[in-house]
């Protein structure tokens, strides 16, 4: 891309542009593309969610505007734009306005570190995984700003709930991701994706497996447990049902969005859907191989000789990533269709008493995995290098499986026995209903 811009500016137009101008143009171009992707995804996601949830509830969903209602989000957008923008008289006007930006911008940044295809990461650096979560927590400030500035009890309550939820679920999310960092030895998202080539076992663990792009981290016990914990946390961070306590419309109107109308409300809406998209994409990327899939690595290998093949590989990678992302978004909608909202104490209990210890144990087993696969005489484990890679992989798999299963069972036991100090519900033989002992 830089070569192309360089050619256009310096060779074709003969402008003698310095290097930083080319770099700037390149980054601006990528940023523009990303900013175009964002609203488009949001429009598509709202339509997708409404249609899917309608089908799950035996309804049809919006199907009037355009063919099967595909233009419905555009109609909604027009409605948003033309609505009156009302700011409460007692509101803190500056903060009220700024909050929308503070909420939206970080979610856009989140997309900038995602690897969309082989070699297609807009900004690639060593700590991009940590950056992804760090920047996502910035929008919590925007929520507090929005909730506080409206001078409304409902918005303040919603903001407090949202922030308490985001903070407490960031811990299990980041801790479950740390297990993957231990396994792959890198904190760069693109490196984690690249490490997931292979078939069931990935190429770094077992170099001889065929590379079908299916060596997903999900297929390891550590990765599976991390996926479960992470996806639950992602639901809570994206404020999806059953964790949509901050904007529980049957309790506190619309939470922190209560005092917003028109396009400002639309911005909050946009931020939420983009955040959900980013969370789905990062789930697909970290656990389900991102752009990895059958054929991508072969195509990009052929791309060394012919530029066309590497373009094809990129396109195929983007398709794989989007398919996985939309599958996860479908799962989010599916969960929304199936489960009722949690109570706030249940939410906190689940986060702190169950997910957090589980992820800590998972990090421990990830360390065992890394030791079994990568360590040798250098670390004082000379006996491990005597085994072949298959044997080491099997040892790692079995030992982490046992540890994780034990931890999960133990935690379920502890949590259910902790409940027994509260009024416990026991099945009644006669009515099949519940009674208190």
């Amino acid at each position: 891309m830089e070569a192309l811009i360089n050619y256009l500016l310096n060779t074709a137009l003969n402008l003698h542009a310095p290097e930083w101008v080319i770099l700037l143009i390149r980054h601006l171009l990528v940023a523009t593309i990303l900013f175009l992707v964002v609203p488009f995804q949001m429009l598509l996601l709202t339509y997708f969610e409404r249609r899917v949830i309608a089908r799950m509830q035996d309804r049809v969903g919006p199907n009037r505007v355009g063919w099967e209602g595909v233009l419905q989000p555009i109609a909604d957008a027009v409605k948003m734009f033309t609505k009156e923008d009302i700011v409460p008289a007692a509101a803190d006007k500056g903060v009220h306005l700024l909050a929308t930006g503070v909420v939206v911008v970080p979610t856009m940044f989140m997309l900038s570190v995602l690897p969309w295809g082989p070699g297609m990461t807009p900004v690639d650096f060593e700590t991009s995984l940590l950056f992804f979560f760090a920047i996502s927590s910035v929008s919590a400030i925007g929520l507090v700003m929005g909730g506080w500035s409206g001078n409304n009890k409902f918005s303040l309550l919603g903001a407090m709930r949202a922030v308490a939820q985001m903070i407490s679920y960031e811990m299990p999310a980041i801790l479950s991701i740390l297990a993957l960092v231990l396994m792959t030895g890198s904190m760069s998202i693109s490196k984690i994706v690249e490490a997931q080539g292979g078939l069931i076992a990935n190429l770094t663990d077992l170099p001889k497996v065929p590379d079908l792009g299916l060596g997903w981290l999900l297929f390891t016990p550590v990765g599976f447990l991390a996926f479960v914990c992470f996806f639950i946390s992602a639901l809570a961070e994206g404020e999806r049902t059953p964790f949509d306590i901050p904007e529980a419309d049957s309790e506190i109107v619309a939470g922190y969005m209560t005092e917003y109308s028109g396009m400002k409300f639309g911005m909050f809406y946009l931020a939420q859907y983009v955040l959900n998209f980013a969370l789905c994409a990062i789930t697909a990327t970290l656990f389900f191989g991102g752009w990895q899939g059958p054929g991508v690595s072969q195509l990009s290998a052929m791309g060394a000789n012919n530029q066309l093949f590497s373009i094809l590989a990129g396109a195929l990678g983007v398709v794989y990533l989007l398919l996985k992302t939309y599958f996860f978004f479908f799962t989010m909608v599916w969960i929304r269709g199936a489960f009722p909202r949690l109570r706030i104490d249940q939410l906190m209990g689940l986060g702190w008493k169950f997910l957090l210890p589980l992820t800590l144990v998972n990090i421990f087993s990830a360390a065992i995995w890394a030791a079994c696969i990568h360590w040798g005489p250098e670390q004082g484990l000379a006996f491990l290098s005597a085994f072949g890679p298959w044997k080491r992989w099997a040892i790692a798999f079995l030992s982490t499986l046992v540890i994780n299963l034990l931890a999960a069972t133990l935690l379920v036991r502890i949590n259910s026995s902790a409940e027994s100090s509260m009024p416990k519900l026991v099945e009644d033989q006669k009515f099949g209903a519940v009674t208190l002992p």
């Binding site: 089908r55 799950m56 269709g337 006669k430």
Partner: protein
């Protein structure tokens, strides 16, 4: 083990949930149910309410639910298909019983004699204030007023909701198509009364305006 508990409105069936074999079994079951509904929504449409899956939405302008015979919206007046004679005799019973008082009737006078004729000269119902209670249809001794099934009345023109006699008149066959069994029950009585009424009408009086010219006016009754 399921036990039916009789409660006031129907019966509640509490389901026995056995202890789950593994963590999250109930949640997975719930998700399975939802997914099942999602798959079935692409199948045939739900036709009656005993079915539990499939889309039940009626996409209104294209599809309409069949209305029950007893459905009532706003009142209309009937006239006989063949002779064009209105069933209404302007007895003023409906005007008197109408709770919001939206019915206004002018009785007909024979232009030659100046006597009252059993027919309405003008019959106005203000549809905008009518509440559709159906008392007029209940009270009408000649089965002239019936309740219509037409409900798409929304308009930007408020004045057009004041319905005059010409707007209200419908042929008997129209009502028969709406409520065949009800008409079957009252048909005989209604026609008998109509014949009696027609005997006391003369010329074109009492003939629906849209039918004038299409039917022969009844023979003028012999002067007494």
């Amino acid at each position: 083990m399921t036990v039916k508990i009789e409660i006031q409105r129907g019966s509640a069936v509490p389901l026995s949930r056995r202890h789950p074999k593994f963590l999250g079994q109930g949640m997975l079951k719930g998700m399975e149910v939802v997914l099942d509904h999602w798959f079935k929504s692409f199948g045939p449409k739900l036709e009656n309410f005993s079915q539990t899956a499939g889309i039940f939405t009626t996409e209104y302008p294209e599809e309409r639910l069949k209305l029950a015979e007893a459905y009532r919206n706003l009142p209309i007046l009937l006239y006989d298909d063949e002779t064009g004679q209105e069933l209404c005799t302007s007895c003023l019973q409906c005007e008197k019983i109408c709770p919001p008082q939206v019915i206004h009737i002018t009785q007909t006078k024979d232009p030659s004699t100046g006597k009252l004729v059993l027919a309405a000269a003008e019959f106005i119902i203000e549809y905008d204030a009518c509440m559709g209670c159906g008392l007029c249809a209940e009270v009408c001794p000649f089965d002239s007023i019936k309740m219509d099934h037409h409900y798409e009345l929304s308009t930007a023109d408020h004045a057009s909701l004041t319905m005059h006699k010409a707007d209200l008149l419908r042929p008997v066959s129209y009502y028969q198509s709406l409520a065949p069994t009800f008409w079957e029950q009252t048909k005989e009585n209604a026609y008998k009364k109509l014949q009696n009424t027609v005997k006391r009408r003369s010329g074109l009086l009492g003939i629906a305006p849209s039918m004038v010219g299409k039917v022969q006016p009844p023979e003028t009754k012999p002067a007494e």
